[in-house]
């Protein structure tokens, strides 16, 4: 793990030159055992995906039959068409994208403005509000969802996308994360801008917000995934097929094909893997940076 060890291992693996010494061979053995264990676990995580993809390409009549395959043997793309033809699957995906996009944008605006106030404006009552927000994190969704449902049904918003969007706009975690980042930006940046005659909003929008971008990206990615995957709220709020989001739509898909065509269900599952994969590829670097920065230190 040290620099020395690093160097030696690289040497011993890249060149077949045998460097005797018990330390080296011991490290190699440890490395093999570690790789073996990790590989086994990786297999446990990967095999279901491979089963899902290969089964989604089987003929519907073979979809339930054994033995299972983990590598595609057939290439029946018709299952993928069935998903779109027999279920409003396009609508599910578009609804999910639309809701997640609006939620993330709104959440970032609300959270970054609050984070700016919490980190850079000194005024009485600031800490009290901040503590109340953090305390709100402990209130489980099961408590708030019932009054939210009552409120939204009074506003005639049940079975609309607004019922999913509005309550998801606020999450104190996002405020906390962006505030932590903004606290690290030196105050001299604000002061220089004020001397140039800028007002608070300009400083927030043009100076601080761009500098807090890593925190904004990680908050966006995390909130996007949470909204995209949310199952509980759409289950409660949505009834109309055409308005459903992907997670709840998956249960519709299962209901339609559940007894006859497993391949079509798994084709739907496979399609649903694509957006998270894209997000992951785009956001992985920031996600890791963001968690590092998110302040696990006190």
């Amino acid at each position: 793990m040290s620099k020395i060890g690093d160097f030696e291992i690289k040497n011993s693996t890249s060149k077949p030159v045998v460097s005797p010494g018990s330390f080296n061979s011991r490290m190699k053995k440890i490395n093999l055992v570690t790789h073996g264990g990790l590989m086994l676990f990786a297999l446990y995580l990967a095999l279901p995906f491979m089963w899902i993809i290969s089964t989604s390409l089987r003929l519907p009549k073979d979809s339930f039959s054994l033995p299972p395959t983990f590598w595609p043997t057939d290439f029946i793309v018709g299952n993928y068409l069935d998903v779109f033809l027999q279920v409003p699957f396009t609508a599910f995906i578009l609804n999910s994208i639309k809701i997640a996009a609006i939620v993330v944008l709104g959440h970032i605006i609300i959270s970054s403005m609050a984070a700016y106030a919490f980190s850079r404006i000194d005024f009485p009552g600031r800490n009290v509000v901040f503590i109340i927000f953090l305390a709100g994190l402990m209130i489980p969704g099961q408590v708030t969802i019932i009054p939210q449902f009552i409120l939204l049904s009074k506003l005639n918003l049940v079975d609309t996308h607004a019922s999913l969007i509005l309550p998801a706009l606020i999450n104190p975690i996002g405020i906390f994360l962006i505030r932590q980042m903004m606290l690290t930006i030196p105050k001299t940046f604000d002061e220089a801008a004020f001397i140039d005659g800028a007002n608070r909003f300009w400083v927030y929008y043009r100076v601080i917000l761009p500098m807090a971008m890593p925190a904004i990206v990680v908050t966006s990615v995390m909130h996007f995934i949470a909204t995209w995957n949310d199952f509980f709220r759409p289950l409660i709020f949505l009834n109309t097929y055409e308005k459903m989001t992907l997670p709840i739509g998956m249960t519709v898909l299962k209901g339609v094909f559940g007894t006859g065509n497993l391949s079509a269900i798994l084709a739907g599952v496979t399609i649903s893997l694509i957006p998270p994969l894209l997000i992951y590829i785009l956001g992985q670097k920031y996600l890791v940076e963001g968690i590092t920065m998110g302040g696990l230190k006190q």
């Binding site: 793990m1 959270s111 609050a114 000194d122 209130i139 199952f231 890791v288």
Partner: protein
């Protein structure tokens, strides 16, 4: 440059959207839930005050004992499982020296966290099937009798655990991995010069310095496990009978299937109180074992 009064106005203007949404969707609902717990309300007819009746029903609810016990079982299975498996994987990956392999493992271990829970849970449900499921087929190859993954009251816990580990272990893994990477390398170099074994380095450097991360993972997985909904809903639907019904599933049933909003609020508040108590105890006890770095 900025007067105090002006700062207050501007400060609250910046906070306004957050305060409004927080008040409307977190603050007001909490107070409303408190009031609802003293009423009988089915959304259609106006709420009726019934005093402590919901709380009496809460104490006499025959199903509640089993349901809270189920929730507790999930807690004591899932929390240690995620804490330990995530830590082992992170320690393993941090030993890997090649960056390419590190990236490979990190990607594979974290990817399931991102995928839509409902999609993969449905796929797993088919894999758990008694007759044509992949798992029983593989067991059969090894000469092991098929298992009632979804229909036996005790095996359903194993099934949910297998799924939960597969889907969410990447979460604790990533937090641990980043925590380990943030430990200053100089500490290990110094330890090596002093002749510390890898065992000593693990227990004297890595784990003590990782305690803030361990604490964070403990709190978040506990709060997540106690509210567990998606996994039992999608894989076992609380069954067989009430064998895997958790408190969140029960609240859903009471509020949105039976439309007993008042009693559902009472049960939900009991969950809030339990989460509050667990969080307070954890924070109180954390002084004893969590070491924060002094900057």
């Amino acid at each position: 440059m900025h007067s105090k009064g002006r700062n207050t106005v501007v400060g609250f203007l910046f906070l306004l959207p957050a305060i409004l949404t927080f008040g409307l969707f977190i603050g007001e609902p909490l107070i409303h839930a408190l009031i609802l717990s003293f009423t009988e309300y089915n959304v259609i007819t106006p709420a009726k005050l019934i005093g402590w009746d919901n709380f009496k029903q809460f104490l006499n609810d025959d199903r509640l004992g089993l349901i809270y016990w189920n929730t507790f079982k999930f807690l004591i299975i899932l929390v240690p499982m995620h804490m330990i498996a995530g830590l082992l994987l992170a320690l393993g990956v941090s030993r890997i020296l090649s960056n390419k392999w590190k990236y490979f493992y990190r990607t594979i271990f974290y990817f399931p966290v991102l995928v839509t829970t409902a999609s993969v849970a449905i796929a797993w449900q088919f894999m758990f099937d008694f007759d044509f499921g992949v798992l029983n087929y593989l067991l059969g190859l090894m000469g092991i009798n098929p298992v009632e993954w979804l229909t036996s009251p005790s095996w359903v816990y194993v099934s949910v655990a297998i799924f939960s580990l597969w889907k969410f272990v990447g979460n604790s893994f990533l937090f641990y991995l980043i925590g380990i990477q943030n430990i200053p390398k100089t500490l290990y170099e110094a330890a090596e010069i002093d002749g510390a074994s890898s065992f000593q380095r693990l227990f004297k450097i890595t784990l003590p310095l990782l305690t803030p991360t361990i604490f964070f993972v403990l709190i978040t997985t506990m709060i997540g496990a106690i509210q567990i909904f998606d996994e039992p809903y999608l894989i076992t639907n609380g069954g067989p009978l009430d064998a895997s019904r958790t408190i969140s599933l029960y609240i859903y049933e009471l509020a949105f299937q039976n439309h007993t909003m008042g009693y559902a609020s009472t049960v939900a508040l009991s969950l809030f109180v339990i989460i509050l108590i667990i969080t307070i105890i954890q924070f109180k006890m954390s002084n004893r074992w969590v070491h924060y770095e002094q900057d």
